[in-house]
Amino acid sequence: MVAPLIEIKDISFEYEQTKALENISMSVQEGDFLAILGPNGSGKSTLLKIMLGLIKPTKGSIKLFGVDSKQFKNREWVGYVSQKSNSFNSGFPATVEEVVAGGLAKKSGLFRRLPKSAREDVKEALEAVGMEAFIDRSVSELSGGQQQRVFIARALVAKPKVLILDEPTVGIDHQNVQSFYNMLASLNRDKKITLVLVTHDVDTVTDRITHVACLNQTIHFHGFKEQLHTMSDEQREAWYGHSVRKIHHVGGSHSHA
């Protein structure tokens, strides 16, 4: 049997003696498009950061591609797109090409320059997100949605097998959110990239994803999105509080907060 791309076992995390995550176990298989859903402060971003090795869990273990994350060397297999507003210096004097080429830094190896083929790789990654026409533009001149596509291209340029995205649509207007998720779905479907996504856009994302994880310090549901309706009202309440209700649509069931 093929090892899951990400396997989390019994993870807990405390931040300044406050429990953020408790006994989380879940796995992400090749080809999944997983959305991690949950209210504010439910530990979604913390879970992603643990997957990425940015923070260490208080207990538990993580395997990436079947290898313990501490020993895992092929970091370029795991692409990451952070919340734009959190980490990006918006006035940075760089072109789109320079930013996307930054995604090749790890793959190229320490002490080495970027390969001559870097520009072709950058073009290909930009094409995948529909931004090839912007290759020579300054990244600070782009709109929020365009910048986020550039950051996805940066993650794609190293040809990752799994892409982890932390609320990538923050600051993007509603119309662009739709086309953004369409683009993610096509990456999953056509480029066979496994996607793990933290988001609040429950309505918009539901049609595109294959799996859902409902998180609020602990996992309340994890499985195919079609099985989401099997959650009991008590489970829903425990997951999202009493404001959550189930709305039945033709062809499926969706949760609304």
């Binding site: 952070s82 940075f92 190229s108």
Partner: protein
Amino acid sequence: MLEAIFSYEFLQNAFGAGLIIGVIAPLLGVFIVVRRLSLIADALSHVTLAGIAGSLYLSQSAAVFASLNPLFLGIFASVGGSVLIERLRSLYKHYEELAIPIILSAGIGFGAIFISLAQGFSNDLFGYLFGSVSAVSREDFLIVAGIAIVVLLFIRLFFKELFVLSFDDEYAKASGLPAKWVHFLFMIVTALVIAGSMRIVGILLVSSLMTIPVATAMRVSKSFKQTIFLSILFGELSVITGLFTAFYFNLAPGGTIVVTSIFLLLVVIGYKKAAVSRKKGAIA
């Protein structure tokens, strides 16, 4: 003056060191500015002052240290200061900026004590504070050249890592780059450049040569590499013009170099504003 440069060793030293600093200070300065670490350069320059003043005091009070080049203790203090800043930044995770005033004050504090303990090096000290054309020795020049080799090698080896770290440090860590080590080495190299530059620009003005040419370049550059190129260009223009002016009018080169760089900044800001107005006029 060109004839004089070829005739007098002290002018060769000053111009040689100046030309090197005109490259390495803005080159490293680009990364300092985009990483919003400009004030750290100020803190380190004041720590260097403590090292220089301490060395001048030691050379007066102990015969063993009489021939010690103050630059060595200056470099030692600057590198030590950069390590301490990093320690303090990790100690005060939620108030990282606190490290800067603490180290800056410590630098001035120790500097003031050594200056008041020692007697009669006010001329030397003036040169260290505001730079000097005549005081750059062959040994100083060689130290600056050595520092330049370290800086250029560092940038050559870690350019892509530094770029990613500067643009988005969380992404750098997540993609498995040795962000912590690159940052630590960056701080050490910054400390070296500050200590090396102060013979020409002076302790109090050294951070300006790392930031003002970059600020000027950022007004007109379209890419990161262009920002580096233009920063070095504006840095060299400032150093060359500043050194010539200082030599002819017997002024402190730190002052003339910084005033030239400010002048260039104002010219570029004015040019940019005029270009924007013209563009708006054309559209209307």
